[in-house]
Every structure is written in structure tokens, then in C-alpha cells.
């Protein structure tokens, strides 16, 4: 049977993010989490393949212990199994070490995978780099920003739009795709799935030691990029504030800017009074 791996990430939901002011890393364990939206689309793409031709789906995540929630959600939605990579030593990983760490667990537990599916990007760091780098790490072909995917034999048939081109692509398997949020909308959880996920579901945990990963290779220490500073970038313009009733606001707006707006629109917006 086809073996699919879906990489998911739990991302913070809160608007105020807890930062560690020493290391400039996000204190993920303090933030309320949710499954990253594009990862849900990746899981949906895997579920669609399974519905059609059958497949076994393993969801993998790396994160704090609370990232197990995202795995349970994946199981509730239909994944067969979840793997949680959690280790304080893995914290602060850039995309280089994240893709390395994910590749190790996949090679160890599902070495005979056919297809890996990732979300195209995450809403927190939004690098879109882990998928392509994981493909490199495993020496398999990768295609990013996919919005339609079917499997035929040992090939994946892909459609996507990139840089103003609409492309149809055939990728040899095993391979990796990253799925856009423009693809088919994810399904909702069924009650049975919910029971399954929070009953005795098949979630296993790994850390650096169990994967044979030296701490020099992982987390912030192994990362090629170092965050040096983080700051808030609000550019202030000396601005005009309008308040009051809607009518008062619009009167002021048009009194002051009817020429300016009308000039761009190409229409005379003045009232008779003017």
C-alpha cells in the first residue's frame, strides 16, 4: 500500500507572542497552538489520495510536547499514526536543522515512503523552506506550491500556478510536495475520528538521542542562521485622525480630499457647495 508522510506544524494562535529576550526565540510552550493552515491542506491532499486508491498516512511534527495536540487532530482527521519529535535541544531550529531532523525520523520509521506532503508555508515564520530542504536531505524530487495532486503508478501528477505560469508536472516517486492553501478545502473532524484521536491512538515520541542526533547538529546550535535581534517596525506617518458619526467622517474626508481622490478616480467628486 502507498505510504504517505504528512509533515505538520503547530503554530501559535495568540497575537501576543511570548519571546525569550535572551535568545530571541519564540517560547512556543507558552503560546496557545493550532495546526498551521497549509498543513491541514497537506493532510487533506493525503486523505484524498487514500480515499481514492488507499494509503497509509503517518503525520510527523517537531515541536514542544504540546505539539502532540496537532498530531491528535491529524489522527482525528484520518491519519493512521503520529510521530512527535520533541526535545529541548531541538528548540530554535532554523529550516536547515529542521529539515535534517525530520529527514532522520522519516528514514528511521518510514524509510519506504512513497510521498511526503508538507504545507507550502507556515503562518508564523513563513519561510516555505522546510519542504524543499527536506527533499534535498532525502535526495528525492520536490515540487512546491502544489494545488492539485493525483497519483498514477509511480508518479505524481501535479498542477500549480507559479510566477504567472500554469504548470502540469509529473514527478517521480518517492518525492515530496508542498501544498498551497489554494487547493481543496480541508474536511471537518468526524465524531468517530475524534474518539479515536483521544482514545488510544497511535502516537509515538522521539527525541534527539533516540534518533542518534548529536546536539551540535540540531536546534539553535546546529542552525546556520542566527537571530541577532528582533524589533517592532511600525513606521509612523504624521496623520490625520477622523472620528464621529459616519456622516461627519465622510463630510470631512470629501471636504479635505475630494480633489485628491477625484483626481485619481478621474471624476469630479465636488458638491455644489464647493
Amino acid at each position: 500500500m502507498l505510504k504517505l508522510v504528512v509533515c505538520i506544524k503547530q503554530v501559535p494562535q495568540v497575537s501576543e507572542l511570548p519571546w525569550d529576550p535572551e535568545t530571541w526565540h519564540l517560547q512556543r510552550e507558552l503560546a496557545e497552538g493550532m495546526m498551521n493552515p497549509a498543513c491541514r491542506f497537506a493532510l487533506e491532499a493525503a486523505l484524498k489520495i487514500r480515499d481514492k486508491i488507499g494509503a497509509r498516512i503517518t503525520a510527523v511534527t517537531m515541536g514542544p510536547p504540546s505539539a502532540e495536540e496537532a498530531l491528535r487532530e491529524a489522527v482525528a482527521l484520518g491519519a493512521d499514526k503520529g510521530i512527535l519529535l520533541t526535545d529541548r535541544k531541538m528548540a530554535g531550529a532554523d529550516t536547515y536543522t529542521t529539515s535534517l531532523t525530520l529527514s532522520k525520523v522519516i528514514q528511521k520509521i518510514i524509510p519506504d515512503f512513497d510521498l511526503i506532503l508538507c504545507g507550502a508555508s507556515t503562518i508564523d515564520s513563513d519561510t516555505a523552506q522546510v519542504g524543499p530542504q527536506l527533499a534535498e536531505e532525502l535526495d528525492i524530487p520536490g515540487v512546491a506550491y502544489v494545488h492539485e495532486l493525483t497519483i498514477a503508478g509511480n508518479k505524481a501528477r501535479i498542477r500549480r500556478v507559479a510566477d504567472g505560469f500554469s504548470e502540469t508536472i509529473e514527478m517521480e516517486l518517492p518525492g515530496l510536495v508542498t501544498i498551497n492553501t489554494t487547493s481543496e478545502a480541508p474536511r471537518y473532524m468526524s465524531f468517530r475520528g475524534f474518539q479515536q484521536a483521544f482514545g488510544e491512538s497511535d502516537i509515538i515520541t522521539h527525541d534527539a538521542a533516540s534518533l542518534g542526533l548529536h546536539q551540535e547538529w540540531i536546534g539553535a546550535r546546529g542552525s546556520a542562521t542566527k537571530i541577532r535581534n528582533v524589533y517592532s517596525p511600525i513606521a509612523e506617518r504624521g496623520n490625520l485622525v477622523l472620528t464621529g458619526t459616519n456622516k461627519k467622517i465622510l463630510d470631512q474626508l470629501f471636504t479635505l480630499f475630494d480633489d485628491r481622490i477625484g483626481g485619481v478616480v478621474g471624476k469630479d467628486l465636488k458638491t455644489e457647495k464647493n
Binding site: 501559535p12 529550516t95 504567472g164 528582533v230 485622525v241 459616519n246 485628491r260 478621474g266 455644489e272
Partner: protein, 333 residues
């Protein structure tokens, strides 16, 4: 022989006009930084029939062109391009590689960085050289609240993808000359595991938003899909285009094509109406080039209100309706 110059490379992304522009913008920034490290600006061009682009790149500031010109490169290919770029970078050892954050660039750069075993910062909105000569990369990060400043202290090359439209290209100077280094494609190319079956210009009206003089942008503060849909009516009256924030696209109130922000469009209208948008950095960094911003938000403390020229403290949906009515009356006359 003197010591080899520290090189800043720019990937020559020439496939369409927009990509060509970001390459020129990067050449300009690379020139500035090359001055700071006593280095040279090299552009890597992989393709077939590239003479026109090569002369453009030289006229815009390249000191050196690495050129692989081969009929097999008639179409962009991720695997072939990554292979060639890795091979060349291993041989020439550049200090920095900059890639435009086009769709191709954002996929290509991580492949190359991984092959070279080095670091890569995504979608930078600013670059600098610090006192030690390191490349300082600034990119929006984590939920859109903040800018992260990243360096790659040890590994080389230092790599970054850079958002189009951030840097100004230099004026043409067709009297400039540059060294052209021909790099033939090797015979032992690995076979491509990804096959392009068809590639056609997408019919999506992609550029309208980026070129619109008036943009009406809506966020979650519009309240509902129904209320959001009235923005289209407003845009129609104003002869403008509708943009949307990421939450709105996720909620399916607007199409992905309308996304203004990181991973979406950069806009530069003469007038921007911003409805019910709080102003996360992924969004605001993409509207900064707007000449005049009118923001409508219930929260006077929302970040967008500080960067707006006119900050209207009110319900976005109501102001949208009132503005539609007002414009209908005024335009009728």
C-alpha cells in the same frame, strides 16, 4: 595573481518582466554592499538565448556574468538549476548569494542552500553589511508583529531571498563592460526526476492589483463575507482593485490572488483604502509604497492607523456602505 575578490552573487531570474526587475533591484543592492566589503557583483545566468538579459545585467551594474547557455535550459527546471548553481558555487566560493523572492526563487534558494550546507533567510525586506563584514538580513517574522535580524556567522555562502520591489534598480549604463565567464553544462548531468508536461502563461489577471492606482483592501474587521463583498462595489465605483489580508483569504472571503502581503502581492497605489485591517507586518511591508493611505478601523491603536495618512476611527463595514452611497451621489452629478 592577487587575492580573489569577495563576490556577491545574484541569481539572474529572467523568465518574465517582473522577475527580471527583481534581479536588477538585487544587482543595485549588491553593488552598494560590494563597495562595503571590497567585493564584486556577479550575476549567474542559466538559460538559452540569454544575450538580452546578460547585457541588461551588465548595464545595471554587474561586474561579472557566469553564463551557462545551453538549449537544454530552455525551460526553468528546479533540479537542473539547483545542480548547476551548487556546482558553480562550490567552485567559485562566493561570499553571498541573493535570489529574488519570486515563486521560483523561493523554491530554488532552499534547494541550493541545502546542497551547499549553508543558511538561508527567506523573503528579506532589507539587507546590510555589519562592521564585521557579515550580511545582515531583515525579514518579517512570527505572526507579523516583528522584524527579525539574522546573520549567518560561520557557513558560506550567506544566502537570502529578497522580496521584489524593495530596492531601487540603478539606471542603465550601456557603456559598462563586464567579464563574461562561460560555464559549459557538464555531460554527466543527473537525470531530472521532475518533468514539466505543460507550462502556459496563467490566465489569472495577476498584475492588475500590483499596478492599480487605487486599491481597496479589506481585512477581518469587515466582519463577514457578505460585508466584505461590498468592497468590490466600492472598488468598481473608484475604478480600483480589491486586495485582501491573509486571514480574509483563509476565511475564503476573497481569492488567493487578492492577497496583499508576504507570499502575496506588493502594491503601490496612489490611494489605498484599508478597511478593517489591523496591520500585521506581512501586510504593511507590502503596502508601504502606497502614496496615500486612508485606513478605517475601530481600534485607533491598530498599527495601520499609525502608518495611514488619514486614520478613520469607525466600523469598516459601515464606512464602506456610506462611502458607496456618497460616491454614487457625487458621481451621478
Amino acid at each position: 595573481m592577487g587575492e580573489k575578490k569577495r563576490a556577491i552573487w545574484v541569481f539572474g531570474d529572467f523568465r518574465n518582466y517582473f522577475q527580471n526587475r527583481v534581479t536588477l533591484q538585487l544587482i543595485s543592492k549588491a553593488r552598494e554592499m560590494a563597495g562595503m566589503i571590497g567585493g564584486e557583483v556577479c550575476v549567474v545566468v542559466l538559460g538559452s538565448q540569454t544575450a538580452e538579459y546578460v547585457s541588461e545585467y551588465i548595464a545595471h551594474g554587474a561586474d561579472k556574468i557566469y553564463l551557462t547557455e545551453d538549449p537544454r535550459l530552455v525551460e526553468y527546471s528546479m533540479e537542473t538549476y539547483s545542480f548547476l548553481m551548487e556546482r558553480l558555487a562550490r567552485r567559485e566560493k562566493p561570499e553571498i548569494i541573493l535570489v529574488g523572492a519570486t515563486s521560483f526563487g523561493r523554491e530554488f534558494a532552499p534547494h541550493v542552500a541545502k546542497r551547499l550546507g549553508t543558511g538561508l533567510t527567506a523573503d528579506c525586506i532589507d539587507l546590510d553589511i555589519d562592521e564585521k563584514g557579515l550580511l545582515v538580513q531583515r525579514a518579517p517574522s512570527f505572526g507579523g508583529k516583528l522584524i527579525a535580524e539574522t546573520v549567518i556567522p560561520e557557513r558560506r555562502p550567506q544566502m537570502a531571498t529578497v522580496r521584489p520591489g524593495i530596492f531601487q534598480e540603478l539606471p542603465h549604463d550601456f557603456s559598462r563592460t563586464a567579464e563574461i565567464v562561460h560555464v559549459p553544462m557538464p555531460d554527466n548531468m543527473p537525470s531530472d526526476r521532475v518533468h514539466i508536461i505543460s507550462r502556459e502563461p496563467s490566465p489569472a489577471k495577476e498584475d492588475h492589483l500590483e499596478q492599480a492606482k487605487i486599491v481597496v483592501c479589506g481585512g477581518r474587521g469587515m466582519g463577514s463575507k457578505k460585508k466584505f463583498s461590498r468592497l468590490y462595489e466600492l472598488a468598481e465605483l473608484l475604478g480600483g482593485e480589491v486586495g485582501a489580508t491573509r486571514p480574509v483569504v483563509y476565511l475564503n472571503w476573497a481569492n488567493r490572488e487578492a492577497l496583499v502581503g508576504q507570499a502575496g502581492k506588493q502594491i503601490r497605489p496612489v490611494i489605498l483604502f484599508s478597511f478593517g485591517i489591523s496591520g500585521a507586518i506581512q501586510h504593511t511591508a507590502s503596502i508601504r509604497k502606497s502614496c496615500f493611505i486612508i485606513a478605517i478601523n475601530k481600534n485607533p491603536k491598530a498599527p495601520i492607523m499609525k502608518m495611514a495618512d488619514v486614520a478613520i476611527v469607525a466600523d469598516a463595514g459601515q464606512i464602506c456602505n456610506a462611502l458607496i452611497n456618497e460616491l454614487k451621489q457625487r458621481i451621478r452629478r
